[in-house]
């Protein structure tokens, strides 16, 4: 079949030049182009995933100094990249839990008048062992070990049993 070439187009019937049908050649080229562009898309998609935060894995943090907390009070401190809570009970004993509410991630606080851990966002309550006792929180807070060394109070992430 002889087709009239468009201006600027090669006037030859290209399918005869190489022996490869034009449709096959075009499909091959299209496949190569789409394939190579998809290959480039992969690094972009991986790039969008943020790298794991190194701070999360911190096993231990200085929570407070011994003279900082009165009995029946609490303090939030930085544990890795997240906030955590240190509570000194009326008995003088220390407890520590994660300060990230298990409901929608607000930061909880110690409420001395009820001796409970309380989340102000949706009125969730936890007892001093981190168990969710009322309100919307679905799970207990993570708890940490407390270790007093000299004048400093350290909090340690519990090893998974």
């Amino acid at each position: 079949m002889v087709t009239r070439a468009l201006p600027g187009e090669c006037p030859f019937d290209k399918s005869n030049a190489t022996g490869m049908p034009r449709r096959t050649a075009l499909r091959f080229l299209l496949g190569t182009v789409v394939g190579s562009l998809a290959t480039l898309l992969y690094p972009v998609l991986r790039y969008l995933v943020p790298p794991a935060e190194s701070g999360l894995g911190v096993g231990e943090a200085l929570a407070a100094r011994i003279d900082e907390l009165k009995p029946n009070s609490g303090k939030t401190f930085r544990f890795g990249s997240r906030p955590a809570l240190l509570v000194r009970l009326a008995s003088g004993e220390y407890r520590s839990t994660s300060a990230v509410c298990t409901h929608l991630g607000c930061t909880v606080q110690y409420r001395p008048e009820t001796a409970q851990i309380w989340c102000a966002c949706h009125n969730g309550c936890y007892d001093l062992n981190g168990r969710n006792v009322s309100g919307p929180p679905p799970r207990a807070l993570d708890t940490y070990e407390v270790n007093v060394r000299g004048q400093e109070i350290y909090v340690i992430r519990k090893q998974a049993a």
Binding site: G8, Y47, P50
Partner: protein
């Protein structure tokens, strides 16, 4: 009627896209021995699109403050998956874009495509080139490394040499007396908000003007065609030229990826404002010609400050370059040859000085 054509009809009924796009269907590109130069503008556009895309990606992890900028770029290159690749693509594409923009401009200048009625196309193009250089200048401070710090110090100092308003300009650029975190914030805003807005606006004007006046044909070819009208050849823009352009873009992408992967862009060392400039420090290649000129000028020329004279010379050169179409009209038809020689001189001067600057210690 299948789903795709029904969607098309639906859109057409409302927006009348068919009519709006019809000039693009009518558009043709002249075919002659210099036709390959027509690809350079589109290539620059492609690299600009790569810059927009990779730039937005870099914004996901970049922190614009003197205390964190270097570390955040380090984080991108070392910790974020394929971060090194994205950053390297952005740097390489920037350099290739500057190169293509220069090549496009000189090809247009030497073909004297700025002749009536395309003066405004030329002016919008030169402004785009200045904006591209602005992108380069503001962009390479952002990693806050030693080279960036001193290049910015020198660059803003140069602006400060301009008589009367220079000092005010310098303080405005630096956000204070010295290059500091305030400068970084300003350059960041310029690089990611002000310049893109201006460049996209100017780019749209440039493309509309190109569309309105069509593609220029070099004078020599035009003359041949006027003598032998049967030799006049054209190609449809869509799809004939467009597909060829896409092949060009595809090749450019391949070159870019190879450069970015095998020659990843270095980060250098973190800028320390209180340490001396390292020996042999130089700006990016596209500022080398100016840098070298200022270095070579004597301290005093005819009782005038040599450096000041150099800076004023470059300012005047830039203004003349912008007004090139009018200079040609002013020079008259008989002196057109001199305009062409002038353009060649500018090209040889910039290229030569860049080489000298590159080799010089």
């Amino acid at each position: 009627m299948n789903a795709a054509s029904r969607v098309q009809t639906w859109i057409d009924e409302r927006l009348n896209l068919d009519e709006a796009l019809s000039p693009l269907r009518e558009k043709t590109v002249p075919v002659h021995r210099y036709s390959s130069w027509y690809f350079l503008g589109g290539l620059t556009l492609f690299l600009f699109l790569v810059q927009l895309f990779t730039g937005v990606l870099l914004l996901l992890y970049y922190h614009a403050s003197a205390g964190e900028a270097f570390e955040s770029v380090q984080n991108i290159t070392n910790r974020v998956q394929f971060g090194w690749l994205i950053r390297s693509l952005h740097s390489w594409s920037a350099n290739l874009m500057v190169f293509c923009a220069f090549a496009h401009m000189f090809s247009v200048a030497l073909a004297r495509a700025y002749r009536k009625p395309r003066e405004l196309t030329w002016i919008s193009g030169v402004i785009l080139l200045f904006l591209v250089l602005g992108f380069g200048f503001s962009g390479y401070l952002l990693p806050w490394n030693t080279r960036a710090y001193f290049a910015t110090k020198v660059g803003t100092e140069v602006a400060g040499q301009v008589p009367v308003v220079g000092r005010a300009i310098m303080i405005f650029m630096r956000g204070g007396e010295d290059v500091s975190g305030a400068t970084l914030t300003r350059f960041f805003g310029l690089h990611v908000a002000v310049l893109p807005a201006l460049a996209i606006g100017m780019l749209i004007s440039h493309l509309l003007l190109v569309q309105k006046f069509g593609t220029s044909v070099p004078v020599s070819v035009e003359k041949e065609w006027d003598e032998n009208p049967e030799r006049r050849k054209e190609m449809r823009f869509f799809p004939n030229f467009f597909l060829r352009e896409l092949i060009g873009w595809y090749i450019a992408l391949a070159v870019l990826v190879v450069l970015a992967v095998f020659f990843p862009w270095e980060l250098g060392t973190k800028a320390d404002p209180f340490s001396p400039a390292p020996p042999g420090i130089k700006p990016e290649w596209y500022f080398l010609a100016q840098f070298q000129t200022l270095k070579l000028l004597p301290a005093h020329i005819l009782h005038l400050d040599g450096e000041l004279l150099g800076i004023l010379g470059f300012g005047l050169g830039g203004a003349l370059w912008l007004g090139l179409p009018f200079i040609e009209v002013f020079a008259g038809a008989r002196r057109v040859r001199w305009v062409k020689i002038g353009i060649l001189f500018v090209l040889i001067y910039l290229a030569g000085m860049s080489v000298v600057g590159y080799v010089a210690r």
